[in-house]
């Protein structure tokens, strides 16, 4: 059986009065994928989700699900179901009736709809609470009921609007696992909006990073982390240091760059002509630390330690250096213990050529590149 839930957004825009929330976005989500839309608040991710659900008018562009145009359809006629940020459970109905609500609206008999609702409640392990009102449940339990309610009509696409943001950190991690388990079990497309890059990395098959109404990068979590497309992505996803430099020489062995204060960097081969101003990123856990006075070389910077933060397995060092807004270095606790540094110490940090990653611009993977076989 062919999987359902293939979403295609073409040229999608959303305008609120004068404010543009979404600028001609193109996005293709293959069926059965866990897709996370991630970005800071106001980046247009929620508008996108709500347009897919049909709760927001489309200003321009088209939404297709499994080849059918959704633009003119009511939310209830779309093969989507939405799980709201604050769960939006009906406060006057028991868990069972909440889950059975849409079946009741369809006019299904009480026995049949309650049987189906119980099925869903047991799927989310809430069958013991079917008589409770939402106000008698904890946040995590409410979320499970909301999930069951969204799934009861057997949608092809489940839309989740910041589903974990109302939970405490411990529960958040547990529910995250649960969402992933459910998605694999049910095999439907999940579109999950979040502002937490950590959540997106942990859950998604495909991460869509958005900023100011535009998509910055569509990629697998690994590629988003290892090869951020733009400065924005590198900064948003965290764990990266963004440097600015100018290309001085492009050869077969690599690209030579100059920093503003005489620093020289040697980056991997790239198609860049001398004189171009570029930015590149280096992961903060790929940077090595040594005492000042050691042999200077390319790809190393001498700097002052501004912050030492113990984080358990890692120690985070904040450094002041040229060409970079703030230089963060993560060293393992063992490494730190071998070479303890204090605030105010001068150290040399360095990295290898292959760990330099150019931030060229947006990167839109087409479905065929990455997920072609899965369709």
């Amino acid at each position: 059986m062919e999987r359902l839930g293939h979403c295609r957004l073409t040229n999608l825009s959303k305008v609120y009065g004068d404010a543009v929330a979404l600028k001609q976005v193109d996005l293709e989500i293959p069926a059965g994928q866990y897709c996370c839309l991630v970005g800071p608040s106001g980046c247009g991710k929620t508008s996108t989700l709500r347009m897919i659900a049909g709760h927001e008018q489309i200003s321009e562009g088209e939404i297709h699900i499994d080849g059918e145009c959704m633009n003119k359809l009511e939310p209830s006629d779309r093969p989507t179901a939405m799980m709201f940020q604050d769960y939006a459970l009906f406060p006057h109905l028991s868990c069972l009736d909440n889950v059975a609500f849409s079946l009741r609206m369809q006019g299904r008999a009480k026995v049949a709809r309650h049987a189906r609702a119980r099925e869903l409640l047991s799927l989310v392990h809430m069958d013991a609470y079917e008589k409770r009102l939402p106000s008698q449940l904890s946040g995590g339990q409410r979320q499970r009921v909301a999930l069951a309610r969204a799934l009861v009509t057997n949608p092809s696409v489940l839309l989740l609007d910041e589903p974990l943001s109302a939970l405490d950190p411990f529960l958040r991690v547990r529910m995250r696992d649960e969402l992933r388990r459910l998605q694999l079990e049910l095999g439907m497309t999940f579109v999950h909006v979040t502002h937490s890059q950590e959540e997106a990395m942990a859950l998604a098959d495909m991460v869509v990073v958005m900023n100011e109404g535009e998509i910055e990068q569509i990629d697998t979590p690994q590629d988003v982390y290892n090869r951020p497309a733009s400065q924005f992505v590198a900064r948003f996803i965290g764990g990266h240091n963004v440097f600015n430099a100018t290309v001085t020489e492009s050869s077969e062995t690599g690209t030579r760059l100059n920093g503003s204060q005489g620093a020289a960097y040697m980056a991997p081969v790239a198609d860049l002509s001398p004189g171009t101003a570029v930015s590149f990123s280096v992961r903060s856990d790929k940077i090595a630390l040594s005492r000042s006075g050691d042999t200077p070389m390319t790809n190393s910077v001498t700097s002052d330690v501004g912050l030492v933060e113990y984080q358990g397995a890692w120690v985070k060092l904040g450094l002041k250096a040229a060409d970079v807004e703030e230089l963060t270095v993560m060293v393992t606790e063992d490494v730190f213990n071998q070479m303890p540094v204090q605030m105010g110490d001068q150290v040399v940090v360095s990295w290898v050529q292959s760990d330099i990653h150019f931030l060229i611009g947006k990167k839109m993977l087409s479905v065929d590149d990455q997920w072609g076989g899965d369709r």
Partner: protein
């Protein structure tokens, strides 16, 4: 059980004293006086059921014909029910519009204040204002005559059941709007979206989500309106041209003739009737949820 502590007792004492002095004491006095005897010129402390007997004299034996008391109660219930229904429908619609159609908070406040404008004057003036409008030579009749819709001025416009109901609805719809609006403010808009997402039509959402969630507000508004109308005698008097009977009116007349024990007995029965209605309402709706 939690033990009473002295500070808490002290804190409730002022309100308690006010309630005791101005609510409990008069009520108990009324109850006591309702068992007293009276003549044309005197009130005699006693313990007699005469007042109650007189009120219900022949009421059971003459059935199915209604005695005076039953007729009056029937008429009062009828007014209460019709006004309740009209204020409920209008109040609910206005609240719904204010809550879900008016987008900005400022506009909501402005329109809400607009609803309260009639309350800037006394209710007697608001009633009297209807007279030049509805009278035989009033504006409405003149207008109808001019347009040629009627040959003769309509005389049921004023001093009729119609004008009584009109005045009641005009006076008391706000008492429905306020609690219902308050209930609606607590409805999260995402809940309506969720209903919509689940395939509910506008009507289904109204019946299955909005109305159930407004029940406490509807109950409180109903209590306001019903208790006011059950005991009213001024509006029925003025707008009914002193021709329509009501329990309040009966009590009022008995007071004027200084038949305090009879008036007290009537008041006790009215109180019992109203309390029964309220009890019934609270059985249907849990008002405490709103408080």
């Amino acid at each position: 059980m939690k033990r009473w502590n002295n500070t808490a007792l002290l804190q409730v004492a002022p309100l308690g004293a006010v309630f005791l002095l101005f609510f409990i004491v008069p009520l108990v006095l009324t109850l006591i006086v309702s068992f007293w005897d009276y003549t044309e010129y005197a009130i005699i402390p006693d313990f007699t059921f005469r007042n109650y007997q007189e009120i219900f004299e022949g009421c059971v034996t003459r059935l199915p014909d209604l005695c005076m008391t039953f007729k009056t109660y029937w008429s009062t219930f009828k007014f209460s029910f019709m006004v309740w229904l009209l204020t409920l429908v209008i109040g609910f619609t206005v609240s719904y519009f204010l809550r879900f159609h008016v987008r900005t908070m400022t506009m909501q406040v402005v329109l809400f204040l607009l609803c309260t404008i009639p309350f800037w004057t006394s209710n007697v003036i608001r009633m009297i204002a209807w007279i030049p409008l509805l009278g035989r030579n009033g504006l409405v009749n003149q207008g109808l005559l001019e347009v040629g819709l009627v040959d003769q001025g309509l005389d049921w416009l004023l001093y009729s059941e119609f004008s009584v109901i009109l005045a009641f609805v005009h006076l008391y719809t706000l008492f429905m709007i306020v609690p219902i609006f308050n209930s609606m403010l607590r409805i999260d808009e995402s809940v309506l979206e969720a209903a919509y997402d689940a395939g509910a039509s506008g009507w289904q959402t109204l019946v299955n989500v909005v109305i159930p969630l407004c029940r406490p507000g509807i109950a409180i508004g109903s209590i306001f309106v019903i208790t006011i109308i059950m005991g009213d005698f001024i509006t029925i008097g003025i707008m009914g041209g002193q021709q329509i009977a009501s329990i309040g009116k009966v009590i009022h007349v008995e007071m004027q003739y200084l038949q305090f024990p009879a008036a007290a007995a009537n008041a006790v029965i009215l109180l019992a009737a109203v309390l029964m209605i309220i009890y019934g309402l609270t059985r249907v709706v849990d008002i405490r949820k709103e408080l």
